[in-house]
């Protein structure tokens, strides 16, 4: 159920409507064209042999038996692949080199040690089973705290320490706020490693042409139109001889931004044999080695409050286990400091972060991207403050919310919040949840010895990301701030047909639908009449694509820009033909006519034909044709100050939500069951309520996973991955998801086209901490305090036992 409450003055026709998804028919009929559907003449199939050890020296590799197997065309080791391709591009300043196939040493369980191309995947895997690798096992670094010890074995000899990055940043006068505080609430917290697990794994088809030294690469990477030069670099192909072609992506949740390892392995295999090669990770490859895991943090946090509950300052000390490599630098913390103070007027922040390397697959990005544990710890502190100070948790939030008249609001780190009305969201959430009814039910069940809990969380979703966050903590960043652009090309043909060509791939979201709506809005035509196609890397449609809840913001800006450029030209062409002043011509319902006095008019087709073939030459500045490429740069970003005392605005479109989950906890078995779930969401102007509902509900489902079941687990001594399949790494299913009641409030962003904000991550950014709060509430009579996710049955029983043992 999804309801939008919108101000009365609504004049838009298509933006804001639940227009049917353009993407659905091809997806639902299996005709969308994934990597697995790409079949080229003579194409081979790749498979990868992976290390069973977390940390080991490769003593020797014997590939002779594999090479002798009929059907095997090429076998590559790290050493032979290194003759064909270069190491992964990295956004960190530190010397941490990563190759797609390990050379000499493996640093995490599942790291590639060899790759095979054969006439089919079965033979390729048979060949992998025949490769003999001799390892000298090295001590595995599993515990990040132990890895910080100066005497610990180093993951990389090029570093002085496994603490690859450490920095303490103060924003505002933290010490003064701590000194004047009436109460300082302290909490530790543990947020374990979880991963994005899309249905489709990462994959590529590479076709190397040795004669022209050119590479054609189909992939499900997001960055084919953002960093094609980086792919050219690892493939050792000149940038103007690499063509990257997008395929429909079967989900990403952040995991497919780069997928450089897959592209590198596939490209190396194709270069080695001069034939097209397809390599699609299987599930074991993906779970172990895709770089799809998110944050792995230990928090030690303090919230300083005045006697009346005013939040003064926040201290976050964080140890973050990054795994074996550091490709995206400390980006997840750049992300987190976009909204570390949540929706509250907290005046100062100390952020002390240690990024630690261990023998695990490296962190990548997963829906939430660093702000997810940030929301968890902050809302835990606020609930704890309410409890310790005897202030109702709702009231404490009300007292500290940034007020509607304070926007745009600058938080201590320098980021800007554009707009919001947090109290209105909270009030409406309390109303739709029917809190009194649930409190009565809680009383009734407690009398029966049952434990019902009501959760509450009010959280931010920073949206419209700017990739500068990846390196924003460096004093001397390897790269300057980026405008992180998005492009759309629109052409209207001679018959008036509108085609939009976009640089971002179909990543499981709905770019075609959004572009159709925006074009329809601008021309007054039906969205179904708009053709949307995806650009390959030779079109020039620069695009950072989906990620950081940005694509609807950025695509609507790019599309409207391109549509208006073309429309303006059509108005000039029509005005010329109708012998009118362009100022007096408008486009209504796809018809160009005199403003206010419809009489003479021209259709899209009539204007199109004239512009294409019958240019009258009256305006010498205007040439024939109707085409425009519009690149929409990030709408609001300012550079950081040199001393990092102000990071600048980098994530200023800030959505907000209040979640109220209702849970029941079985204290004997530790089982947590969700009974109901209420959400009020504000993502500015809702572009398409049906799409937003899909994003929010899907995010909540992943949030349920984060709260209750998802966790990567590694053997404490050998570092072996203990969750290699979906039998161990658990994802929520429909059975674990209650009905979710969802409403929207709209406070449009002043910075974006139509006032839209992002909403791609919000569900997962809020649900984990909201459900933790519900479990706390349920077990309040037993004195439980949740500070670790996921709340597995064993952890819940353990927390109850610990609470009972406390004096």
């Amino acid at each position: 159920m999804s309801t939008v409450e919108r101000p009365a003055a609504e004049t838009r026709r298509w933006v804001g409507q639940s227009v049917a998804r353009k993407e659905d028919p091809k997806l639902l009929t299996g005709r969308a064209g994934f990597i697995g559907d790409v079949v080229l003449p003579g194409m081979l199939h790749g498979a990868v042999l992976r290390s069973p050890h977390a940390h080991a020296r490769i003593v020797s590799i014997d590939t002779s038996e594999a090479e002798a197997l009929p059907g095997v065309v090429v076998v590559l080791t790290g050493a032979t692949a290194a003759e064909l391709v270069d190491p992964m591009p990295a956004f960190c300043a530190e010397p941490v080199e990563q190759r797609a196939i390990a050379v000499d040493r493996v640093r995490f369980p599942g790291e590639a040690v060899a790759a095979v191309a054969a006439t089919d995947r079965y033979i390729a895997e048979d060949a992998c089973a025949r490769i003999r690798v001799e390892y000298e096992v090295l001590p595995a670094l599993v515990d990040p705290v132990a890895a910080m010890d100066p005497s610990a074995t180093r993951v990389h000899e090029t570093l002085d320490s496994n603490v690859v990055f450490h920095r303490t940043l103060d924003w505002g006068d933290v010490d003064a706020d701590l000194a004047r505080a009436h109460t300082i609430v302290r909490s530790s917290a543990r947020w374990h490693r979880m991963g994005a697990h899309p249905i489709e794994t990462a994959g590529a088809v590479a076709s190397w042409d040795p004669f022209s030294q050119s590479m054609t690469m189909w992939s499900n990477s997001n960055f084919i139109n953002f960093l094609p030069w980086a792919f050219a670099g690892i493939l050792r192909v000149s940038t103007n001889r690499l063509r990257m072609i997008p395929c429909t992506v079967g989900g990403s949740f952040g995991s497919k931004h780069l997928i450089t390892k897959v592209v590198s392995i596939t490209g190396a295999l194709s270069k080695a044999c001069g034939r097209p090669v397809q390599y699609l990770e299987d599930r074991a490859d993906n779970v172990a080695a895709n770089d799809n895991v998110g944050c792995d943090r230990i928090y030690d946090a303090e919230l300083a409050l005045a006697e009346d509950g005013e939040m003064l300052g926040l201290v976050l000390r964080i140890i973050d286990d990054y795994g074996a490599y550091f490709q995206f630098a400390h980006g997840q913390h750049g992300n987190a400091v976009a909204q570390p103070v949540g929706p509250y007027r907290i005046g100062s922040l100390r952020y002390d972060v240690s990024c630690v390397l261990t023998n695990k697959v490296q962190q990548g990005f997963f829906r939430g991207a660093g702000a997810d544990p940030g929301n968890f710890i902050l809302e835990r502190l606020v609930d704890k403050a309410a409890l310790e100070m005897g202030i109702d948790r709702v009231e404490l939030r009300r007292r500290n919310f940034i007020r509607p008249d304070q926007f745009p609001y600058k938080i201590p780190t320098g980021n800007i919040y554009d707009s919001g009305d947090y109290e209105a969201v909270l009030d409406r959430a309390l109303e739709i949840a029917g809190l009194d009814r649930w409190r009565a039910e809680q009383e009734r069940l407690r009398a029966e010895g049952r434990y019902l809990g009501i959760g509450l969380a009010s959280c931010q979703e920073r949206s419209g990301y700017n990739a500068s966050e990846w390196w924003s903590f460096y004093d001397e960043p390897p790269l300057p701030a980026t405008s992180t652009p998005e492009s759309c090309k629109i052409d209207v043909d001679a018959m008036g047909g509108v085609r939009a060509t976009i640089g971002c791939p179909l990543w499981g979201n709905s770019p075609e639908t959004v572009v159709g709506q925006v074009v329809a809005e601008e021309f007054g035509i039906d969205p179904s009449a708009v053709s949307v196609v995806y650009a390959d890397s030779t079109i020039g449609a620069i695009s950072a694509g989906p990620g950081g809840s940005r694509v609807t913001i950025m695509l609507s800006g790019a599309t409207r820009g391109a549509a208006r450029t073309v429309k303006d030209k059509m108005i000039r062409v029509a005005a010329s033909a109708m012998e009118m002043d362009p100022e007096d011509v408008e486009c209504v319902d796809g018809v160009f006519r005199a403003k206010g006095a419809p009489g003479t008019s021209m259709t899209m087709a009539e204007v199109g034909m004239k512009a294409h073939l019958f240019h009258d030459g009256t305006d010498e500045a205007e040439s024939s044709g109707l085409v425009a490429v519009y690149t929409y740069d990030h709408p609001y970003f300012t550079p950081p100050s040199a001393d990092r005392s102000d990071l600048g605005a980098f994530y200023p479109m800030v959505s907000h939500a209040c979640h109220i989950p209702i849970v029941e906890v079985d204290p004997e078995t530790g089982e947590v069951t969700l009974r109901a779930y209420y959400v009020v969401n504000d993502c500015g102007t809702v572009m398409n309520p049906a799409l937003v509902e899909g994003q929010v509900v899907g995010g909540i489902v992943q949030g349920i996973g984060a709260a209750l079941m998802e966790e990567y687990s590694y053997g404490a001594t050998d570092g072996a991955l203990e969750t290699p399949t979906f039998r161990e790494y658990l994802l929520p299913s429909m059975h674990e998801v209650p009905e979710i009641v969802l409403e929207h409030l709209e406070t449009p962003s002043p910075f974006t086209t139509y006032g839209v904000k992002g909403v791609g991550e919000g569900g997962r950014l809020v649900a984990p901490t909201a459900i933790a709060s519900a479990v706390d509430d349920a077990l309040r009579p037993l004195g439980v305090w949740v500070d670790e996710l996921p709340m597995t049955p064993e952890r819940v029983v353990g927390m109850i036992a610990d609470a009972q043992r406390r004096p």
Binding site: R121, Y122, E125, D126, A129, D282, R283, A284, D666, E668, T669, G670, E671, M709, E711, S713, E722, T723, T725, R727, E728, L730, P732, S733, H735, E736, T792, P793, E794, V797
Partner: protein, 300 residues
């Protein structure tokens, strides 16, 4: 995730299947519902040289009750699907524990292919059906080309995924003796998600005397030991009991002597804890059902 090469045999007669097993022994695997074997082959956890598909073998799909009221027996052949068993009126009437436990196995599409006997032969110490069979004093019917034998469930399960089956033998069916008198049964489990293998589960059958006291009980656990575990000490302790407190006291011994296999879903200690909690719950529900046959409350 592709299996290693293998030969495939699809006999129509039992003797043909037994011939293949006799010839290849440990190198052959029997394929019935394929819900565990195929997954493990794809992951190359097992790479049998020969797969013997018994789905076409005549006569293995029978389900029925034989004998008179004094000593009747419920029989399920090797290709009887879990879903068929779960929905069978005869199973519901004569071994409701088997139906109740069966409904907890995975999801309906899996049960539509998976077989009861396949689960028993696979001998997963966490699985529901082997434990239900154990609590029902079930029998396992075993054949080789040379001989036929019947093994008590308690003697069949020897360890994790291990049974007393010889390499040339296959399980052709299971039998459950139908108990006369007033009995009640219950199966309760904790799973991480709906349809998952339980972290721990308890299967209980109790018979009551005319006063509503426990006359005899059979208690078995999954996920709590190296194999499906019978709990004779608890069974003895509850005889004569008629109130929940007595069950809790008896169930406090449920984990004694057990050696649970830890996993990321539960440590050995947590499984011992669950053994006690779930045994008490299953006993309470089973007694309630025995004394009031219409009792349908859940086993909380």
């Amino acid at each position: 995730m592709k299996p290693a090469p293998f030969e495939y045999a699809a006999p129509r007669e039992l003797d043909e299947a037994l011939d293949v097993l006799g010839e290849h022994g440990d190198d052959a695997r029997v394929l019935a519902g394929g819900q565990s074997l195929v997954r493990m082959m794809n992951a190359r956890q097992v790479s049998p040289a020969v797969v013997v598909d018994i789905n076409r073998v005549r006569g293995l799909d029978s389900l029925g009750v034989t004998g008179d009221n004094g000593s009747s027996t419920l029989r399920l052949g090797a290709t009887v699907r879990q879903r068929t068993s779960e929905l069978s009126g005869e199973v519901a009437a004569h071994a409701p524990l088997l139906a109740e436990a069966g409904a907890h196995v995975a999801h309906a599409p899996v049960r539509a292919r998976g077989t009861v006997v396949g689960s028993v032969a696979f001998a997963d110490p966490s699985a529901e059906l082997p434990t239900a069979l154990l609590a029902l004093d079930g029998l396992v019917k075993v054949r080789s080309r040379a001989a036929e034998r019947t093994v008590a469930a308690d003697d069949f399960f020897t360890g994790p995924f291990a049974t007393s089956l010889a390499p040339d033998e296959m399980v052709v069916g299971v039998e459950v003796p139908v108990t006369a008198g007033r009995t009640g049964s219950a199966f309760v489990e904790l799973t991480r998600r709906h349809g998952d293998l339980p972290v721990c589960g308890a299967a209980v059958v109790v018979g009551v005397d005319d006063d509503g006291r426990v006359a005899h009980a059979r208690v078995a656990l999954c996920g709590a030991d190296q194999r499906p575990a019978r709990l004779p000490a608890v069974e003895t302790a509850v005889v004569g009991a008629d109130d929940p407190a007595a069950f809790t006291e008896a169930a406090a011994r449920a984990a004694d002597g057990l050696d649970p296999i830890p996993s990321c879903h539960g440590s050995a200690d947590f499984r011992r804890h669950l053994a006690r909690v779930l045994t008490a719950r299953a006993l309470r529900t089973a007694l309630a059902r025995a004394t009031s046959p219409k009792e349908t409350t859940d086993a909380r």
